[in-house]
Symmetry: D2
């Protein structure tokens, strides 16, 4: 049966691949894509999402603008990773499709209230401002969500933007805290996973083999994107974060994790944005999330390459 | 010239008097009233506001439901002060007027975007969840607000619900922090003021002298409302908080204060919800609010009694 | 019966008057004076205490050096109030009496273990580092202290060095927290009191009338000391903080307050060092201190002047 | 050249092995051993240290009692790991050697002031209360320490007593913060290392092969000690934490790590006691510690077994 999903995203090269993966997969029905502020400001992510949809030949997808700022303060961005546009590495034409008029927060609320309870999955690929705002505005949606699958956080990998915090959670910890306390079923795709799905040369070559303009764009993005992490970690390739969220929907058997308690640190300046994960069960705090720790990285890339190749025209 | 205002409120007997004062004053045009969760849950404040409008013969006023929960967690209420209904002390008929369909947060945003910049005042008489949410969803409204006049906080009076925090701010410190950091002009009507406007016997007698059903309702409310604070503080009457916000719009000369920095404590469990007010200018933090400290209490009650008497029918 | 006291102090002109008041009072036996780091560094307070003892003709008093730094980090000082020496305003000769070899922390511990339990009062006139350290090193002393009488904190007066915190507590909140949690009986002499004992002209004139070198020194100190607060508050004279601690021992009937819970904020950067005082009993936290709020200021100055005049030689 | 060391410890079976390793090694001169409160209360650790010294035939070692409580509050202990005595698993006779009269904090201070600067290493195997207190009381000792080598904290391994914090740091984060901010050279032996030095069967067999009463005691301790972690982690043996500190002094080539910034979280209830380690250099904070991450575990056990066998009598 087809799974209905909302994607909330701040492209970002890896967000772009995640969107493409979803659009290429018949198992998923993308009800709408909401732009978040994160890697780059909202004014850019609203454009980037539409560029990606048009690249996939899907100008019919509904795209919404969400919030331009985190719940508790000014936006932190990551142009040093993604480039000034957020999708540096390939030139795509300005989109011709239009943004929807409705605010992304209201689209999330309306969709969850309209569709039968337990049938819509929300995939967040950036800071969780829009979902956090939606739950605050209409708390009754939380228990109607089938599941939230999110890229964010880290446990044994620690953080990336600070020693303790991963970027997506760090940018809006208050929003993340609202989501984790909401009662919605949650699957976390943390750095522990994404740092295992590296863009090694053979994997990039496999993308290149798809051929056509699509392959050029993909390889351009990945070459740009991996620079930062290769320099930082000395790894063979960069971590392809966001497509793991979509791949989990398609092939959960690629992943393994543990149901446990995850709390979001919002108070301490030193550890703000940390996903404090009780992997070993040393507290009495309630289990509120499935925290993924391992992935079959080759299986993930095989899936990704196969699906993206379907988009070649 | 008439001042256009939005009232965001959680009645509350003192909220009720504030609403009546606004509706009785030709200097003010009430564009809409938004219900907040605070003294009692949203399901009750949405009813209470309409009861008050109908008591004033103003079933034409637009009333909106706002958020049912604070930005960062579960609601704290104050039935121990206001009674189970929030307006114990007088029985009013169930309202016949309807709630507007639009969410209160969107009403705030739409109104501020539609009206000319700098022409609409937002009066908050309860926790600031709705305004905080509106600014997060649409940050561009902050600089279009003429001014926010709010009941909340305390400086030399300390707090009431905790040693450090006043109720309205304590219930949703994250929302208050968003508002105080937004750049909107802000006037704070704290406990320092409202504890000086006590419902002494002569003042209640003056309400009684208005006569009719209105007077009965007013006196019933005030008798109920003052019990808690009279018992706690041993004072002559209770503090009539919220009408000070409206009275300030009508007769600012009754009030005096100081422009200074006010920060909201959100982190510490011990001091959460405190309005940390730099009255003496000992920090370099930017001045972001006019903090009112003194009031001509007799002038305030004279104004209130005169205006409310106009509503007698 | 004579009360045995230890004075822990960081002179400071007002500390100096407190020391003189104690040495002039036959009701008190000063077992020793411990130097704290606070208004100025330890290297100066150890000198200043001895200058004051010699001014009083009491080179027999045992003076000890305490800790040079707060429990959790670097020292903050207040030369902008007290001058570079800590006792600007009068020139006193370099002391000839020697410091004791024992560390002040150990003097506190040894004295409390040696004297019968419940017979020694500890007066702290500066940051509470030494007493906090002593209790941490030897927790068994806490219940042997007759009472701790301390100058520090504020409630309805707020803070002075920050909007929320008074200087003595702000400099070492961790030490204050240890003391307030120790179980020792505590009397707090906060800004609420000391801001009522101002160095008005008639009061300074009364000191001048004592005559001799002593009067010259006292008036020189007070003239210097009051400058800062007169400029800040526009008050008639400056607040003579520390002598209130000693005056309380001599004439408790000059003071009134309330037994309540006082907690020390150590965590929040915004409110660090605040004495969160549950004056109205709104929490269930245990009552651990007598918080003084009012003083007969004229009675205080009469006592102070009378006693200091005995030191004239 | 012989390295002079002070050991500060809360035995603890693994502390016991660390003490034995030091006493068995001619490269080290143990100037004194200070008892800390940690795994069990001070009243037991003072006994346990002397039992271990007598087991090693070294009743000449100077043993001191330190502080019985952490700097900022009540003690947390770990009898669920170590047993009621702290060294369950082997019965040792009550010690006949005496405790020194001097307080352990003063022994640390006096030793560091008496010995030439840069010649004394301080090894902490438990909560760092005593060293933190010593530095607070006499800050001048910090730059006279050759190096502090401590067992505590974790980075990629996270915590053990909470998801974020390792036991030794969690018990007294304020003390740890004082040490890490002191300017003393620091080497951290965290869970990242000690979880790699597991008491596997062959390694325990090697201890057993030493023979005699000593082997019986060692094996008794290790059998008891490993139960908790084997049950929790499902690992082959338990992590032998503290001997790594001593082994590092003897054979640093067994270890590898990185010089980086380590900050101690003291404020947040959720992450209190965490060693926030900037392994990847993503902050500008100054590098203040060498954080060890890897160990040649077989080399470690070979060293340990060889040295302990020298103690057999
Ligand atoms: Ca993303
Ligand atoms: Ca209200
Ligand atoms: Ca002082
Ligand atoms: Ca240990």
């Amino acid at each position: 049966m087809v799974e209905k999903i909302i994607i909330d995203t701040d492209p970002g090269q890896d967000d772009a691949l995640a969107i493409l993966l979803a659009l290429a997969s018949p198992e998923l029905e993308v009800l709408g894509i909401v732009a978040a502020a994160g890697n780059v400001p909202l004014s850019l992510t609203t454009v980037n999402i539409r560029k990606v949809c048009e690249l996939a030949g899907r100008s019919d997808v509904k795209v919404f603008a969400g919030c331009s700022q985190p719940m508790a303060g000014p936006l932190v961005t990551a142009e040093y990773v993604h480039g000034a546009t957020g999708m540096d590495g390939a030139d795509l034409p300005d989109p011709t499709m239009r943004l929807q008029e409705q605010h992304g927060v209201d689209f999330i609320i309306d969709t969850l209230m309209r569709e039968p309870a337990g049938t819509v999955t929300v995939c967040t690929l950036g800071p969780m401002t829009n979902l956090g705002q939606a739950i605050t505005k209409a708390p009754e949606i939380a228990t109607r969500i089938k599941r939230v699958v999110l890229m964010g956080g880290g446990c044994f990998e620690g953080g990336n933007i600070t020693p303790a915090a991963e970027f997506n959670i760090y940018v809006d910890p208050e929003a993340a805290a609202v989501v984790f306390a909401s009662g919605a079923p949650i699957v976390v795709m943390p750095l522990d996973v994404t740092h295992k799905t590296l863009t090694t040369r053979p994997r990039v070559e496999a993308f290149k083999a798809i051929g056509g303009q699509l392959a050029e764009v993909l390889v351009g993005w990945l070459d740009y994107f991996e620079r930062f992490d290769v320099a930082k970690y000395g790894s063979d390739g960069g971590p392809l974060h966001d497509p793991n969220v979509i791949a989990y929907l398609l092939k959960p058997e690629l992943y393994s994790g543990r149901h446990c308690n995850v709390e979001i640190e919002v108070n301490s300046p030193l550890t703000r944005g940390m996903t404090v994960t009780d992997w070993w069960g040393v507290t009495d705090r309630p289990k509120n999330a499935t925290f993924i720790r391992d992935v079959d990285a080759d299986g993930f890339y095989a899936l990704l390459t196969e699906r993206l190749s379907r988009l070649r025209r």
